[in-house]
Structures are given as C-alpha cells and as structure tokens.
Amino acid sequence: MTSIPPWLTVAEAGRLIAAKKLSPVELAKALLARIKTVDPKINAFLTITEKPAMAAARAAERAVMAGTKHRLLGIPVAYKDIYETAGVPTTAHSRILQANIPKHDAEAVRRLREAGVVMLGKLATHEFAIGGPAFDLPWPPALNPWDTRRFTGGSSSGSGAAVAAGLALGALGSDTGGSIRLPASFCGIAGLKPTPGLVSRRGVIPLAPSLDTAGPMAWTAEDCAILLDALAGHDPADPASVPGPSVSYATAIATPLKGLRVGVLRHVYEHDMPAAPEVHVAMNRAAAVLKSLGCRVEDATLPPLQEYNAVGRVIITSEAYALHEANLRTRPSDYSRAFRIRVLSGALIRAAEYIAAQRRRTDLIALTAKAFQRFDVLISSPTLGAAPLLSEQRPDDGFARPLLTTLANVAAVPSMVVCAGFTAAGLPLGLEIMGPAWGDATVLRVGHHFERETGTRDRRPTI
C-alpha cells in the first residue's frame, strides 16, 4: 500500500483500495488529519467520529485483504446531521435536539455502512434543514471553501463544504426545495436529488414529508452514481418508498449522450428570475457542450417558476410548522430567528390554502411530465449567480426570492447539479439537469459526460 494521493474521488479511491494499492486505514487517518487542519476554517463538521471511523477503516481493510469487493469499501463519508446515526449525536443543528442520540441508523446510513463505508462524522446543516445560515445557534454556519466569506448554500451546507474541501469523499444531504443542489452549486461539487421514493427517508429528520428527498453529494456525478447504487432500494418503513428501476447507475452513466433530447429552460433564469450575466454565459456554454456531445438542444417551456415556488413554499411552511408546533409553542426562542421567520407563518395558513397548494402541485407534476415527452432531460441554472457573501444572506430568503431549484421538488422529478464552470473571480457556477420520474440514470449520465468534457473536476479550492 502506498501514500495517499491528494483529492481522491470515490471512484478513484475505490479502484485503488480494490487493487490493494490504498489502505482504508491510511486513507481514514489522512482525512481525519485534514479535518483537524481545515475544518476550523469552514465549520463543516458538527461531530467528528474519530474512534468509530478508525474501527470501521480497520474492518474495511480486513475485508479487502480477505478478498471482499465493493466500490464503497473503505470510502470515507460524512452525513448531514439530520440523518440518525446510532450512538452518535444527531442534532439537526438545533438546540431542540442538542442532546439527541439515536438508537438506530437511518436506512440510508445503514445501507452505506453495509457497503463498507467509513463514517467520519456529522455535518452542519441549516437548522432542521430550513433555518439558516444562522449565527444564533450553538454551532456556527458552514463556510464556503472557495472563499470563506461566502455562503455554502443550504441546507446541506456542511455536506457541500466538506466534499469541496476534500474532508470527505462523499456525503449525504437532503433536498426539500433545493438543499442538495444549492450547496452543490455554490461549492462546485455534484449533488443528486433523486426521484421521490428511490432513496429511503426513514431515520432522516423530516422537514416537509411530501417534498423531502434524501440523496448523495460528491465531487463527481460518477461518485454520486456509485453512492446511489448502494442507497437506492425499496424500504417498506418509508411510506413514500417504492421499488425503483433495477439498474446500476454507475454502469448506466457510461452510455454516450448522442441523440439525447435536451430542453433548455431559458425562461427560468432569463425571464422568471433573471440571473447574473455570468450565469447566462455559463448556460450557453453548457448547451454548446451538450450539443458537441451529440445532444439535440432546444429551448423548453414550463409554467412560470413563481408558481412552483409558491406551491413549494406553502407546502413546506405548512408541513414544517405542523412538525414543530409543539416546540414552537413551548420554546420558540430555542430556534434560530431564521427558522422562526421561515416556519412560523405556517400557523396562519388555512387548511383550504394548503389543500389548494397540493392540488396545484398535481397539475404542475403533470405539466412537467408532459415536457418530458419532448425532452429526455431539461437543463437550467440552479442559482442566480455564484455564492453570495454570507453577510448578504437574508433570513426571509425563499419567500422574497424564489429558489430556482424548488421546481424539481414540486414536479417530483430527479434533478442534479454539476459544476458548470467558474466566474472570473474563481467561484463555481452550477448546471442543473432534470429528468422525468425514474430518469435518475439519465440525469447522472448527462452530468458525468458534461463533467468529463468540461474538465471542471480538475480544479479544487485552495484552502
């Protein structure tokens, strides 16, 4: 076994470990050392599980030497702190759960553990996956490794920061309105919000159960595909879980893109929510890259973004308030101000208004599905620009400024963000790729080929 190459991906580390050229123990040691040096600058970790990590790494090493083969064996990962982990604090980045130590693993955590990953720790999030970034909580918000004055995006903020900074090769996030894809965009990594029901949410602290999804975040689309292979599967204990298509995502991504029909949702970032000029340039470049890969690229149209956003916000606020009502009644001051601003108005939404949002959602699901009769994937920008300064963040974001990513949550379609390139200031920009329900493999495939063609994966933050 040799020394640890810097900046490994899940795929590369998996190959080296399988070939017995990389020791899982040495890899875990190297990353734990890096966490100690780098994490104080970016606050990605809430809990570092050094001892269990080393025990898992030693077990993985024994398994490798005994001839066990799995692409995730010995791969160091970390989890957003809303994933329950047996015996390890799971706080949701909130005072409310500061003393919560679950007895069981979330199903997604269990599946990855069974595949042989090494859990390095638990990652920062916006409070209960909605209220942040916040400075009035027991832990500071995560900072962007590309520029620590800047926002990571959220709510899977620690997951985005940890992967971008090379502190974990993969992470789990959750996505109710964009919480995997926004940090993926601002931190320059890949993140997949799968089709609802593909990945179990059992043991993931809910925000809005009718929109919540759990999914992987990693440096590349290929890494997300490898993680999804282990994560996907029916779980009868999650009422939304269904047996998805029986495919190997990591294998499916290799198929070339020639002939794929790509729709560009230009109206979303040019008209509905006009984005920065750099986003327009990046999107035009992305369309050109996909054309060069043999895709047929045309503009596509969906209902205005504001409609998806309104439906998403009303559902999220209503369901989140219902989940937190008891604590908001007895200890409202224990939540962050950002959380209260985003959730308290759920107390005033009438049942008829919530039902109207759910009914409108069924229309939007159907209208979006109709667009996928013409296109295999739709592309858009996940954000209005590169990561803003943390000081510019408003606690009422999401109300005042619609999130471009909520469209895919409301439409119940898979969606991933990959790095589209960089601004003149060196900050990453994202490309969002959406597919029809159960089109996760196609979405990952487009992301994978796009990354390979653009070479954005060769550039890392200098932290």
């Binding site: 609802p196 409609e307 409202p332 101000r337 008829a352």
Partner: protein, 134 residues
C-alpha cells in the same frame, strides 16, 4: 404570470394576528411577532399565486391507499417477496409506462400515490381506468 383568478387571502390586522397567534397556542415576544408579520406579508403574496377556483369534483390531492384486504390475490402478492429476477423485470417494464401515463393526463395524486400507480398490475390499471370513466 398566468392569469388565473385566485381568491385573495384577506389582510390580517395586528389585533387579528394576535388572536390567531393565541389561537395557535403560540406565545411570541414583540420581536418574534414583528418577524411573523413580515413573513406573513410574504406568505400572502405566495398564497395569491395558487389558484383556488377548481371544480368541486376535482381530486383532493391528499389521499392514501390502504393495503389490499387479506386473502385477495393482491395481498398475497404484496406480502410475498418477489424473486429478485421477477421484481427487476417488473420494475423495468412498468416504469416507462407509468411515466407515459402520468404525462398523458393530469395526475390526480401526489408523488407517493403516483409512484404507487407505477407498480399496479395491468388488470388493476384497467379497473382503475373503468372506475374513472364512471
């Protein structure tokens, strides 16, 4: 924006807001109350974008499915784990059909129900279709 007519959510005066907050069992300090007033103003704008003038018979969206009664063929199928080979074949075969069906007509269900439809047998799908026609 599209030109649908949505019944506007009536404005709430500070006194009414206090009543509603009390009714919800909340005790907020003045700063928290001010934040809620601000947030509610924005929420009213969002609520105004959601149409409410739908036919009464339109689907209610919030539905759930009971497991089939014991003793039926479906309950046996649901209770018995299919062989991996058969399950794989079935899921691959039904997924595109479900997507097509969802695309062809406005769905009357949320994602979980729509997802449930994916696994429906052709016989059950035909029965459902007939029921909808009635």
């Amino acid at each position: 924006m599209s030109g649908f007519s949505a019944a506007p959510t009536p404005p709430i005066s500070p006194a009414e807001m206090q009543v509603l907050v009390s009714r919800a069992g909340l005790t907020l300090n003045p700063g928290q109350m001010a934040d809620l007033v601000l947030a509610w103003r924005q929420m009213v704008g969002l609520l105004g974008l959601i149409p409410r003038d739908r036919p009464m018979l339109d689907d209610q969206a919030l539905v759930f499915r009971l497991p089939p009664p014991a003793g039926t063929r479906e309950s046996h199928a649901a209770g018995k784990p299919a062989s991996p080979k058969r399950a794989a074949k079935k899921s691959v075969a039904t997924a595109p059909r479900a997507a097509k069906k969802q695309a062809a007509a406005p769905s009357s269900a949320g994602p979980s129900r729509a997802a449930g439809k994916k696994a429906a047998s052709p016989k059950r799908a035909a029965a459902n279709k007939a029921r909808r026609r009635r």
